[in-house]
Symmetry: C2
Subunit: 173 residues, 2 copies
DNA sequence: TGCAACCGATTGCAAAATGCAATCAGATTA
DNA sequence: TAATCTGATTGCATTTTGCAATCGGTTGCA
């Protein structure tokens, strides 16, 4: 896909790539949620994307070089979507965006705990996370002695908050 | 203005604020271009925003707490728009966004030189810039012995590139 | 073998957002 | 007083979005 190219300004061009209401949501679910299939993205995101919009955005993101698509060997009709390096390098931007939104917007506690952790982890954590994504999506080698994955760490924090808020659950899990 | 609040996720809420094609362009022109009036924003941006969209987005950004509007004392019919702290803290995000776009998208040299400088300046430069914006827009005191303003520095670099590219101009300015 | 469930989409349609040009009333300038 | 500039507003055609239904093929299970 070619950009409209309203101007050659880096900010404008970035907006032409993901300056809509869904592209970055899809990337967020792939990056932080680990989703790789159409249905996972369709049913997984709390915002409830429509299937035609999802199909359109996946196609667009592929044409822009942010995603690739491959056949899932285990299921003949399943397609598996992978992030490219171009998309993986969005991690610091998403971290900043999450941090900004957490400060200025009415975020919910359980959904902002991950942004908080990612902010506190800072660039070292982002780099570790990007390496893990490169491993998952690009098949790059991964440093073995690196402890639990960043995604697992973020997910555990999320679960802890949800458990703490759920009625009857043990807050001191 | 109330957000649609598709979800309380910080990234989603951030997208609901400026996840469209124009809001961040307007903020970019105010932050980096120093534009404060309707006409400056209308005619100044190279992307060419329509006046009804500009009016709508200014209103929306005001309702979201990103901008304020006041009468310009020098011209009775002129309105002057100011950034709030909420908008000023977008500077690091814009810096990251510009850096990302410069790497991955077909940016033009003259329009990406500012992003490059801002990236090289890093957080210290961003902080200085934000302080200058707080001075301009919020009337905060400014450290006096701080040299030329960040905006002037960025603008000078832009002019130098433009002069170097212009036929007949002196590249070694 | 049958059959329901699931796969990645596609289609049709109404509603909303966008882009564009013309226009507005008041204030300023010449 | 006439032209120009101010921040908008209006009307209208085009585009995008949101939503529900549906599609042909695949899979898992009885």
């Amino acid at each position: 896909m070619s950009l409209d190219r309203r101007s050659g300004c880096p900010i404008n061009l970035s907006l032409e790539v993901f300056g809509d209401r869904w592209s970055l949501i899809i990337l967020r679910d792939m990056i932080f949620g680990g989703r790789r299939h159409f249905r996972e993205l369709l049913n997984g995101s709390i915002e409830g994307i429509a299937s035609n919009i999802l199909a359109d955005r996946l196609k667009r993101l592929m044409e822009l070089g942010m995603l690739t698509k491959a056949d899932d060997p285990s299921h003949k009709q399943k397609a598996i979507y992978s992030l490219t390096e171009m998309a993986i390098t969005l991690v610091p931007i998403l971290a900043h965006l999450g941090a900004w939104g957490r400060v200025w917007l009415p975020t919910s506690e359980e959904l902002s705990i991950r942004a908080e952790l990612l902010e506190k982890g800072g660039p070292p954590m982002w780099e570790k996370f990007m390496d893990e994504l490169r491993h998952e999506h690009l098949g790059m080698p991964l440093d073995t002695a690196s402890g639990p994955s960043v995604r697992a760490t973020l997910q555990a924090a999320y679960q802890a908050v949800v458990a703490g808020k759920a009625p009857g659950a043990s807050p001191a899990a």
